[in-house]
């Protein structure tokens, strides 16, 4: 069982703990003569109402808050599609070296040769792993990588005078970011249906591609955790119609050393370094979403990329660049972590990552397919999607099962996604979990299945021992309460 934090938790916000005159850190004295102030009309009349708390209070407050989180460091976290693998501690140490964490983005290239070499090496390694040699590391997360990749596709067609190509074909199982990014890129979204085996319906795709097709965006392996068996046919169908094929690389972990997506006919991809390459998710970022393209599309990449001439590394803009998509050169701190990981794993370890991720997912699938329905019960890649419809018929939903898992100290799988699977529970164990952990998860799932028969309210009321039971999310949206207000004082601690 998850061990609750003993005693009452003081949930008061910082402003409710504030005592006038307390400080958390001492600032240096002014060591230059005081200078004349500007016109008072430009100055702040009332100071910002920030809390006044001492340093020990700051540390205890945030440490207590941290203990209310589940995390990879403390819990099994099989959140499908998110690749919650162990985040090596050495990655953190390398990212915070003064020569990495302390350098300014406007420093001249000759003063940051080590950083530029690291970026260049990572560009090369990601190009090699995916078989897509044109790499730009600037995009700050997966969705920005998607948008950037789609802009590259549009620039490519504009360059060819094919301006009528304004349709993005997207499977019904896709992540929500795919259609949202396509809309930002000015593309009309047409949904491609899946067949009963969870694959792309190739005949339907054939009927949908035409001279308006810009890209077909495909997550590989799919959000059902399945490798598309007709992939070569699919990429050639799109190519024959003159379109490009985009790979959503959210699930790249399953393919490391197994196959290069460039070899399959993909033209553009993004990779989520915070998934496949072990950089921490941080409670919702920062991430990094490098965009990867074929040789032909390379000249349209966003700026900057790093080029090497002999031993000299330079930040440059590709010749027909789509431009700049963020402030500087990308999430450099995340890039350092991903590079550290690739060097630690090495050539011999890449395939081992994918293989262990695939074995772990199939182990769970084969163990649970009897009690819990599997959406498409065939061999999967790095994740499997349960569809507990029999349990739903008994009055227990995927949500209830998820919340009950919390009582056992396990983070719930991704729920109700992909949208095409009723009561979906998407389980991605990753390669960094042991057989022991998986056996315990399987045992807990079976125990929960028995509880559904014996005491379903145990599930309806779950979780029980967390700092909060289920929250009124509808109420939160109806009456948005979005920042601290003074009148909150009396009700904050309960």
């Amino acid at each position: 069982m998850n061990v609750p934090i003993p005693g009452e938790i003081d949930r008061r916000l910082l402003n409710d703990r504030s005592v006038s005159g307390r400080i958390g850190v001492r600032m240096p004295d002014l060591d230059v003569p005081e200078q004349p102030l500007p016109d008072s009309g430009l100055l702040r009349s009332v100071p910002a109402h920030l809390p006044e708390v001492s340093q020990p209070e700051v540390v205890r407050y945030f440490t207590t808050l941290s203990r209310m989180n589940f995390s990879i460091d403390t819990n099994f976290y099989p959140l499908g599609s998110c690749t919650m693998k162990y985040n090596p501690k050495i990655n953190e140490e390398m990212a915070f070296l003064p020569g990495m964490g302390g350098i300014h983005p406007h420093q001249p290239d000759e003063t940051v040769q080590g950083a530029l070499q690291l970026i260049w090496e990572l560009q090369s390694d990601l190009g090699e792993i995916t078989g897509l040699p044109g790499v730009c590391l600037a995009p700050l997360a997966g969705a920005q990588g998607e948008y950037t990749g789609l802009m590259v596709a549009r620039a490519y067609f504009a360059d060819r005078g094919e301006t009528a190509r304004t349709v993005a074909l997207i499977p019904d199982s896709a992540h929500g970011t795919n259609p949202a990014s396509a809309a930002m890129a000015g593309l009309d979204v047409i949904t491609v249906p899946s067949d009963s085996d969870g694959n792309v319906n190739v005949e339907a795709l054939r009927g949908l591609v035409d001279e308006r097709t810009c890209v077909f965006m495909l997550t590989i392996p799919s959000t059902l955790g399945l490798f598309e068996p007709n992939i070569l046919e699919i990429t050639s169908v799109v190519h024959e119609a003159g379109g490009l094929v985009y790979a959503d690389g959210a699930n790249l972990n399953a393919l490391l050393g197994i196959v290069k997506i460039g070899d399959l006919g993909f033209d553009i991809a993004h990779s989520n370094l915070h998934k496949t390459f072990s950089t921490p998710h941080g409670g919702g970022g920062p991430g990094a979403g490098p965009v990867l393209v074929s040789e032909e599309l390379r000249r349209f990449l966003p700026t900057p990329v790093v080029e090497r001439t002999g031993d000299d590394y330079r930040l440059v803009a590709p010749p027909d660049t789509i431009g700049r998509v963020n402030g500087f050169h990308g999430s450099f701190g995340v890039l350092v972590r991903a590079y550290t990981y690739i060097r630690a794993v090495g050539v011999e370890g890449m395939r081992e990552i994918a293989e262990n991720a695939i074995i772990n997912a199939n182990y769970i699938r084969s163990a649970l397919s009897g009690e819990f329905g599997i959406a498409v019960d065939r061999i999967c890649m790095h994740e499997c999607v349960l569809s507990p419809q029999a349990q739903k018929a008994k009055g227990v939903s995927a949500l209830d099962i998820s919340k009950r898992l919390i009582d056992y100290g396990i983070h719930p799988p991704t729920m109700y996604f992909p949208l095409i699977i009723p009561e979906a529970l998407m389980v991605e164990p990753t390669e960094t979990e042991s057989k022991d952990t998986l056996d315990r998860f399987i045992a807990v799932m079976r125990q929960i299945n028995r509880e559904i028969e014996e005491d379903p309210d145990l599930l309806h009321d779950a979780p029980h021992d967390t700092p909060n039971t289920r929250l009124d999310e509808a109420g939160a949206a109806r009456n948005p309460y979005l920042h601290w207000r003074p009148e909150q004082n009396s009700q904050a601690a309960d």
Partner: protein, 439 residues
């Protein structure tokens, strides 16, 4: 003697055999039969694995080839700022419970991340004087661009007016974000009229030359044309200068890096995003709201999610998903440690030191400080020779000079001074500039 095992993968060969048998297959090959055989198990041209000891040596050697501010006195700003980061900030962010958790979709096991998000939003409202804030964007410039797109949605107009003192980098990103949405970008001067169909006027303060803009006057001008005022501000400056909320600005974006986030060669940073309450349902990104649980206790959850891509898909207010929660935690801890007094002090230290430096440099023969209006902690120096030459010479003095603006203003250099630049460093810069002097 070599070890084959990976420290990140627990299962042994023996355990894998047991698992394959349980699955009912003989080998891993049986699990990847859907992958086309001719492309399966490709050769990878990567280097071999390193031990942690060798890895540390290799990456430390790369780091050592970078000139590090601290070892060098550094006077660069232009969108990223060096400030002192209290030790508590680094200690809190290292907590694995924050570092290795995911987006808080399961609020019962993410109250830590969620309550931090609520504190973050509260602090942004306090320092900007705005009514609502979201839980963070990728960085300042993308937040600024998203602010303009939001103004287009609100006003149903498709022209974005940008004041010509906005950093060209910000305009480039706005161009990339709006290119495929039938939006026209018009750059206007201070005395130009707003286009009639302008959705907003975008203003940056301090601007690309470090000058503090009259936000109240600019906001009033936008409102006269039925446009919104969208401002990008430097959050450190708000310890002293009037907040955009007091100036009636409608949408505010800011680069949060200056508030406790390492420079890290440009990222990861955090974009701050705030607006007037009436516009909150058009905001991009995640928002944390306060609510209650089934036992009536206060708790927090992501809210107003029907704006977002995972629900709305192609009709979402933005495609943003993974953002920068952890960097938001850095900022929140930083402002908690500084508190009301420290926030004001940092701003004042920056102000006085920068003005001291400007006065000293302005006295040097051949150098003059441009006087375009009041500034905070950055100012433009017109140099007697190209700034690139001066900066190369400064490196020999163990000084990283200012940002080269000679593409915009003749021999212009943007110099930034913050509380981490001691008087000794400033005096060293001044005498080095005097020594380098005209050719």
């Amino acid at each position: 003697m070599t070890t084959k095992a990976s420290p990140y993968i627990p299962n042994t060969d023996a355990e894998r055999e047991l698992m394959l048998a349980a699955i009912g297959v003989r080998s891993i090959e049986d699990l990847v039969r859907d992958v086309p055989a001719q492309h399966r198990f490709p050769h990878l041209d990567l280097r071999p694995a390193l031990s942690e000891f060798d890895l540390t040596a290799e990456i430390s050697a790369l780091a050592a080839r970078n000139a590090t501010p601290g070892e060098y006195a550094c006077f660069l700003g232009g969108g990223a700022y060096r400030h002192y980061i209290p030790s508590v900030v680094k200690s809190v962010v290292a907590r694995g419970e924050f570092l290795t958790s995911y987006t808080p979709y399961q609020p019962e096991v993410a109250q830590g991340t969620l309550q931090v998000g609520f504190e973050f939003q509260s602090m942004i409202c306090e320092i900007t004087g705005m009514e609502v804030a979201n839980a963070g964007m990728y960085d300042g410039p993308t937040a600024f661009a998203e602010g303009a797109l939001m103004a287009c949605r609100i006003t149903r107009r498709q022209t974005i007016a940008v004041l010509d003192t906005v950093d060209p980098r910000n305009i480039a990103i706005l161009d990339a974000y709006s290119r495929h949405q039938d939006i026209k970008i018009v750059v206007i001067g201070r005395d130009d009229d707003l286009p009639e169909d302008a959705a907003c006027l975008m203003v940056q303060s301090p601007n690309e030359y470090g000058v503090v803009e009259d936000l109240a006057a600019l906001a009033a001008r936008s409102h006269t044309s039925g446009a919104l005022a969208v401002a990008s501000v430097n959050p450190t400056s708000l310890g002293m200068f009037r907040s955009p909320g007091e100036c009636d600005v409608d949408i505010v974006a800011a680069e949060g890096q200056a508030l406790g986030v390492p420079l890290s060669f440009g990222g990861p940073y955090v974009g701050l995003f705030a607006c007037k309450d009436v516009y909150k349902r058009q905001m991009p990104g995640r928002i944390v709201g306060r609510t209650t649980d089934t036992k009536g206790r206060v708790g927090y959850a992501l809210t107003l999610q029907t704006r977002e891509q995972h629900i709305r898909r192609e009709r979402a207010t933005s495609n943003i998903c993974t953002s920068t929660a952890l960097i938001g935690l850095l900022m929140t801890t930083y402002l908690a440690a500084l508190g009301r007094e420290g926030f004001r002090q940092v701003a004042e230290l920056c102000y006085h030191k920068a003005h001291y430096a400007a006065a000293e440099i302005d006295r040097l023969p051949g150098y003059s400080v441009r006087n375009d209006g009041p500034f905070f902690h950055e100012f433009v120096v017109e140099c007697p020779r190209p700034p690139a030459e001066i900066n190369t010479a400064l490196l020999d003095h163990k000084i990283i000079g200012g940002l080269d603006l000679s593409d915009r203003t003749p021999n212009g250099m943007l110099i930034c001074v913050t509380e981490v630049n001691t008087r000794a460093e400033i005096d060293r810069l001044v005498s080095a500039l005097a020594e380098i002097g005209p050719r």
